[in-house]
Amino acid sequence: MSRVPLKLFTIVGLAVAVGLATAVSPFAASTPDGLERVAEDKAFVEAAKDTPLHESSPIPDYAFPGIDDERVATGVAGFVGTLFMFGLGYGLALLIRRRDGGGGATTA
């Protein structure tokens, strides 16, 4: 079996991530997660403080601002966030990768 071209691999991988974050995350479990559950059960949850960035963060709590529907707000946050992470990861990798004198040409 031949290898999938890198470009196709990248597009499909990104599409899976964006699809999950956009379409599935609005329906993810909303029950307390591991640490939150332990903090509630063991009565130290009140030690938690809101992060000082809560007001200034662009998309607090994975809800895209200005959208009333909670699920849509989460889906849009997932879509935007996942694309942003791809760009950031890709860009960072270009900056920190091994240089063989090939210059900064883009890959894929």
Partner: protein
């Protein structure tokens, strides 16, 4: 309704300043070393993989799945990153995701960001990566053994993060160790199973499409199309 922005991420206030500061230092040292490793070994063909992994880990962390008793958990991705990129570059990817979550999504605290980078990313990535290398040295070179090892190290990565978090909470004086450790271990033993399932599925997909992109082990030898070594992965 007020809901705590915890989501496995430690919020501000859970750890003492001393513990938070030490973990910031640990996180910075690990990232600095990771950058050096990337500078030497991150080849151009892996650049898109880093973008895809950052996206996939971010997406996966939004997908809370239910575990027992009204509790949920989510994918962490440290082991997946370690298998695909090697342990040190995995530390960078997970750190970037966790930092963006804290800054852009108000998920996880800022004073405890170092702790989250260590507990949810670096510790698991390093342990999973080095365990994987050690295990593959002695295990048969089959697809089954490879994926089985991936499952075990993914589960282990979640557990080590949970244990580290429990220790840090106890040292910080937030909650006694005897109280928090069994609870954290119990919940995360279940969350780790979800982590193992997702990690194996993702590694299988890469194994089937681009085995050359897998950093750890010698997966091309038993990937699809390679000469069958033990009856698996022959087609």
């Amino acid at each position: 309704m007020y809901s705590l922005p915890i989501a496995l991420h430690i919020p501000d206030g859970f750890l003492s300043n001393g513990v938070s500061a030490v973990l910031w230092v640990v996180a910075i040292v690990i990232i600095a070393y990771g950058l050096r490793v990337a500078n030497v070994s991150l080849t151009e063909d892996r650049v898109p993989l880093l973008g895809v992994l950052a996206a996939f880990i971010f997406a996966g962390q939004m997908l809370n799945f239910p575990v027992a008793g009204g509790t949920s958990g989510h994918f962490l991705g440290a082991a997946l990153a370690a298998v695909l990129l090697g342990p040190w570059i995995a530390c960078i990817v997970t750190a970037v995701v966790i930092a963006v979550q804290a800054i852009a999504f108000a998920d996880g605290g800022i004073t405890v960001l170092g702790a989250n980078i260590v507990n949810m990313g670096a510790l698991g990535a390093l342990l999973a990566g080095f365990l994987m290398v050690a295990a593959l040295r002695v295990l048969p070179k089959t697809r089954g053994a490879f994926l089985g090892t991936v499952a075990v190290v993914a589960w282990t990565a979640v557990m080590v993060g949970a244990i580290a978090t429990a220790l840090q909470l106890a040292i910080s004086g937030t909650v006694p160790l005897g109280t928090v450790l069994p609870a954290m271990v119990g919940v995360h033993a279940l969350i780790g199973i979800g982590e193992a399932v997702i990690t194996v599925a993702a590694v299988s997909a890469v194994l089937a499409s681009r085995p050359d992109l897998i950093a750890i082990g010698d997966p091309e030898r038993y990937a699809a199309g390679a000469p069958a070594l033990a009856g698996e992965g022959a087609r």
